[in-house]
């Protein structure tokens, strides 16, 4: 087997434990997107155009609330800001590949592709074809995300409204936010943002959401500065992804 293939399949295999978690997420996303009133085509297209789980859930929620487009785009940008860090973190390892490869690998650079790839680079170092590892991991994830979205859309159409499936959305966000509340600044950031969101709920264009997020972020930084708390190194909505990887290896 060539080096390229070897790295590609090693990357794809590294995704297996993560895919077990990703698949039901795609199902839930697809079902909720239908429930929020997105068309079948739009719900499916979002999984390849945006290709970012948490941003897609947030978009679904905001579409349901009939938020204006610019607020949704702004929120997607804020929710996905962490990808700048992944980009920074993988940049040295990808410095020597062509721009075309950089673009393709960037498109595939999700939380779940980043986690095993950075572990791979830390363990094995950078080799001539090791970017195929990220390609394999990203491709496995992409295919799984598309298929699970499609199945979710199919199932979502069959679930009656009386099941209140939409409640799975706030539950998803709760499941994502609680594990990152590891120290006082992050708890302050979460609680203050939540309270401002309540107080500013009646602002037009869902601007209360943006305002609340900004207040939470600023207060988190201020409290950290005051307490001089060392933040966790891992800045990820999916810190549990890394945990589950560690367990599986």
């Amino acid at each position: 087997m060539s080096e390229k293939k070897k790295y590609f399949w090693a990357g794809a295999r590294s995704e297996i434990p993560l895919l077990i978690g990703v698949f039901p997420f795609g199902l839930i996303y697809g079902a909720l997107a239908m429930d929020a009133g997105l068309s079948t085509a739009a719900a499916q297209a979002m999984s390849s155009m945006v290709f970012a789980g948490s941003a897609q859930f947030v978009t679904t929620q905001l579409v349901r609330d009939s938020a204006p487009g610019f607020v949704i785009v702004l929120t997607i940008a804020v929710v996905n800001l962490r990808h700048v860090l992944y980009s920074a973190s993988l940049a040295p390892a990808l410095a020597s590949v062509s721009t075309r490869w950089k673009a393709l690998l960037s498109y595939l650079l999700t939380d779940e592709a980043y986690a095993p790839t950075i572990l791979h680079y830390e363990k094995e170092g950078v080799k001539p074809f090791s970017h195929w590892f990220l390609f394999g991991a990203g491709a496995a994830l992409w295919v799984t995300w598309q298929i699970s979205t499609a199945l979710g859309i199919f199932l979502g159409a069959a679930i009656p409204d009386s099941w209140s499936l939409d409640f799975a959305l706030p539950l998803t966000f709760i499941a994502m936010v609680v594990p990152v509340l590891k120290n006082r600044p992050s708890i302050v950031a979460a609680l203050s943002a939540g309270c401002v969101a309540l107080a500013a709920y009646s602002l037009p264009y869902k601007l209360g959401l943006i305002l609340a997020a900004l207040v939470g972020i600023v207060l988190g930084v201020l409290v950290e500065g005051k307490a001089n708390v060392k933040p966790e190194k891992e800045l990820s909505l999916h810190a549990n992804v890394r945990d589950s990887l560690d367990e599986s290896q």
Binding site: V73, A77, H83, A168, L171, V196, D243
Partner: protein, 105 residues
Amino acid sequence: MNIWLVMLFGGLITFGMRFSLIYLFGKFHIPEAMRKTLHYVPPAVLSAIVFPDLFLRAGKFDISMDNTRLLAGLFAVAVAWISRNTLITILAGMVAFFVLQVFVR
């Protein structure tokens, strides 16, 4: 609001952020202050979305025992805290929500 435009811009911005420093490697480094700030984005944004979902009913603040979303949501917070597992949290929250709705009626 055109959902296709939203997805197009949302997708381009997401790609741009993933591509940014891979492309600019060696020419730009993230300042430490920005790195710190990014740390608080997930808790702030997600809470800002969740709080109104749980505490408001028809736009009004409601912390009564009738507010099944709030009760089920708090239960989910406890489950998330203990289990640290996304799917278990969602399932537990949905089950709590259904059970509470039966009782409230």
